[in-house]
Amino acid sequence: MEQKKKKKGGSGRFLHWLPFYLMGLPGILYLFINNYLPLAGLQIAFKNFNYGKGMWKSSWAGFKNFKFLFKTSDAFLMIRNTLCYNIVWILLGMVVGVTAAILINEVLSKTAKKFYQTVILLPYLMSMVVIAYLAYAYLSPSSGLFTKIIENMTGTAPAFYQEAKWWPFILTFVNQWRGIGFGMILYLSSILGIDPAYYEAARLDGASKWQQHKLITIPLLKSTIIMLFILNLGQIFRSDFGLFYQVPMNQGALFSVTQTIDTYVYRALLQLNDVGMSSAASFIQSVVGFIFIVTANKIVSKLDENSALF
């Protein structure tokens, strides 16, 4: 590369790459229009948005739009919930996803493999509203399957929708159950890309299944795992609105463990309908996500340069 550059000089090199740039142009345009142009809208978070005047002519409001996020004791609660759930789920999702991918990969029958994969992926394709009613079918106070079973065994029926203590577990279960199929696909495709020769060699040397995965699969999956981890960190200040709003059936009694930044924004602005305030919330989420991604990437590049994302 270095040598080529010296030989051909600037313009020659540009001409050489021109067809490729042209090929990339539609994509670059798309990226620009879809991802960069809207950045101008970030200013709405700092404005008293007035539809009549439009975005550019509305008056500046300083940090006024951000105030509502920190107005109550809820601020701590929702940030804690958002962060804690995300950290647990990112780590858990990684472990469960890799495990599921390895297990599926071990299934020999092609039909069975396809079957399991479809079954595991199925929940990911369901709407949260449907999932909320599936959960309700199990947890409903009057007719839920689990409620009735527990009532028959212990004599008292747990009031799932009134007691916050159950929900960290229920939400975690629902989240993993729903997400595992999709998380698994990426790991599975990486595993399929591993050269079978490694495993053959290992088997000849007498390595057990466990040793094969520990010493071949996991190390070769490392870059995929790290990439997904870093990308997931960018979403750490966001939450799946459907999961936190629909699945607990919007029950006030559960807010201590189900209120996240997104549900708070929805509830606070339901009646106010304020574009500036919702932009402010989204702005914070993006900034925090950005900081997390950059920091995580920095740390990774310190530890192992090849695995870093950028």
């Binding site: 008293n48 948005f49 007035n50 539809y51 009549g52 005047k53 439009g54 975005m55 006024k64 105030k67 509502f68 107005k71 109550t72 004791s73 809820d74 039909t111 396809k114 079957f115 479809t118 079954v119 199925l122 709407s127 509203v129 449907v130 909320a132 009613y133 599936l134 309700y136 079918a137 199990y138 409903s140 106070p141 009057s142 007719s143 839920g144 399957l145 009735k148 929708y161 009134q162 709003y245 629909q246 059936m249 919007n250 029950q251 006030g252 009694a253 807010f255 209120q259 708070y264 509830r267 606070a268 602005l269 339901l270 009646q271 106010l272 309908n273 304020d274 574009v275 305030m277």
Partner: protein, 547 residues
């Protein structure tokens, strides 16, 4: 193969839900997976219904004085003396038409019928733009922000004037009204103050008879069957006795569901500021102008204690909080006896059912306040190209019974039929519009209620009743006032969120101790800054009254 498998699995999953859902009392559970979006829309629409809706009436014989202006005699003027330029190309005025999910298949015919009149009288054509009520605020604000054509907008309900004005969505109307809106000014004179914010008129009321009380609507067939006597002014204790009778017969007294509304307002007439009184309320609006945190009032505590007594006695469904069946559905399915609701002369129309007789009692007196006068209004979008033409059409709607009835009810014969033996009563039965899919404006009111027809079972007495109820109602001392909350949106958001957390359990009577729960709620609201908001509101109100 794969596709087959997926379908088998889906079927299995759905079967599983249905079976476990129908396990016990078969109450809420299954089936209703229709989507929260629809549910939300339904509930907002429901609350709209609950406060007003119905079908307004008319009385052409009441002949409003509006069209009495001096025609200039040149032929280039409307009957009200407004100069109309008939030489220009007719301008097309768009007007919002708000409903639920109706098809409105007959809109084009209605437009054609309207155009015949409007072209002749004000030289413009009409473009009716149906909007789903759940999308109304978004549709309007996005259209105006995006510079799309927008003329007459429906103001009120989910798209309140107080929030549209600071958002810059509405045009100032005072000059236009003075020049081109004599009929509008005449009809809405009594509520003119409520049409203003900071002394500037931004919208005109489509229901200037703003008196509204609190009532209890009930299943009259049940009442007759079980010998229940209902009368105006019934207290919660008396309704509780009714609940006992009903319980013996396996019917719930009422249900509140997972409600985040301040239901108290349906049982007691108060004047509130902001949704759910987030900016405070006047508990005795006809006599006092002291704004209080209504959640901290003794009356509110007693109301919640009353509801809890009902819940404890088993008069309310036990799984209200997770129930996804709305109150209106419960009522029409005859699973509950009745429900608190706003009381107006035509409120009963909202609750009618083909399966049973409906009755309504008034539990608290009517009140004329800013909020009710602002429920159904028309305004002009801030980006309207020809505000003069928009105002001409608004004026014609108020002036010409034919125009207002065409807009409100559509074409006679197709969209509604006249009821024999009456002057102004109509019905949808037996027309293409029986299922409301031909032309149905559920959430907007056009023009003068006294010129509009009225839907059966209301009768020709409606117009007298309406005027009489209006005249007998008290007027809130702060009528016309509204709080400018632009400096308090952070507090409003925080308060609103706290209410959504804590109100449902109180509303349903499902708290262990009402006093403790209310104390907790009040503390949370104060933490969110409700006292600062009320103080600012009081200062603004005092300034308003002192001027």
């Amino acid at each position: 193969m794969k596709r087959k498998l997926v379908s088998v699995l889906l079927t299995a999953a759905m079967l599983g839900t249905m079976l476990s859902g129908c396990g016990d009392e078969g109450s809420a559970g299954s089936g209703n997976a229709g989507g929260q979006a629809a549910g939300d829309a339904g509930s907002s629409a429901g609350s709209a219904d609950g406060t007003e809706a119905g079908d307004a009436g008319s009385d052409s014989s009441a002949g409003n004085a509006s069209s009495a202006g001096n025609a200039s005699g040149t032929g280039n003027a409307s009957s009200a003396g407004v100069e109309i330029d008939f030489d220009e190309e007719p301008y097309e005025v768009s007007i919002q038409f708000v409903g639920l999910f109706e098809e409105n298949s007959n809109v084009e015919n209605v437009e054609a019928a309207l155009n015949e009149i409007t072209l002749e009288k004000i030289n413009c054509t009409v473009d009716i733009v149906p909007v789903f009520i759940g999308d109304l605020p978004t549709t309007t604000s996005m259209a105006i922000a995006g510079g799309e054509k927008m003329d007459i907008v429906a103001v009120g309900l989910t798209q309140a004037m107080d929030s549209m004005v600071p958002d810059g969505l509405l045009m100032e109307l005072d000059d236009l009204l003075a020049e081109r809106g004599p009929a509008v000014t005449a009809v809405t004179a009594d509520v003119a103050e409520a049409q203003k914010i900071n002394g500037v008129t931004y919208a005109v009321s489509g229901y200037p008879y703003a008196a509204m009380g609190s009532g209890f609507v009930y299943n009259k067939t049940f009442a007759d069957q079980y010998g229940i006597e209902m009368h105006d002014g019934m207290t919660m204790e008396e309704l509780g006795e009714v609940g006992e009778t009903l319980k013996e017969n396996g019917i719930y007294l009422t249900t509140f569901g997972n409600s985040t509304q301040m239901n108290y307002k349906f049982a007691n007439t108060v004047d509130i500021f902001g949704d759910n009184a987030v900016y405070g309320a006047l508990t005795d609006p006809a006599n006092s102008t002291t704004i209080v945190n209504i959640y901290d009032s003794e009356e509110m505590r007693n109301y919640y204690k009353g509801v809890k007594a009902w819940a404890d006695a088993g008069y309310l469904p036990s799984d209200q909080l997770t129930d996804t069946v709305g109150t209106q559905e419960y009522f029409s399915q005859q699973k509950i006896f009745g429900t608190y609701t706003a009381y107006t002369v035509n409120q009963i129309a909202v609750w009618l059912s083909p399966d049973f007789e409906t009755g309504i009692i008034q539990v608290d007196d009517g009140l004329i306040c800013t909020g009710t006068a602002r429920e159904f209004m028309l305004g002009i979008a801030s980006n309207c190209e020809r505000p003069d033409k928009a105002m001409d059409l608004i004026n014609l709607i108020y002036e010409d019974p034919e125009v207002c009835n065409l807009l409100q009810y559509g074409v006679e014969g197709t969209d509604y039929a006249a009821v024999d033996g009456t002057e102004n009563v109509i019905t949808y039965e037996g027309t293409d519009n029986a299922d409301h899919n031909s032309y149905y404006a559920g959430f907007v009111r056009y023009g003068d209620p006294l010129k509009q027809k009225v839907v059966a079972p209301l009768d020709d007495n409606y117009y007298d009743d309406l005027v009489e109820y209006e005249n007998s109602a008290k007027r809130s001392l702060c009528f016309g006032y509204s709080f400018d909350a632009s400096d308090y949106s952070a507090e409003a958001g925080a308060i609103s969120s706290k209410l959504q957390e804590m109100l449902p359990a109180l509303n349903a009577g499902m708290v262990a101790d009402v006093d403790a729960a209310v104390d907790e709620l009040v503390a949370a609201l104060e933490d969110a800054g409700i006292n600062d908001v009320i103080e600012a509101n009081q200062a603004q109100l005092d300034a308003y009254l002192g001027k």
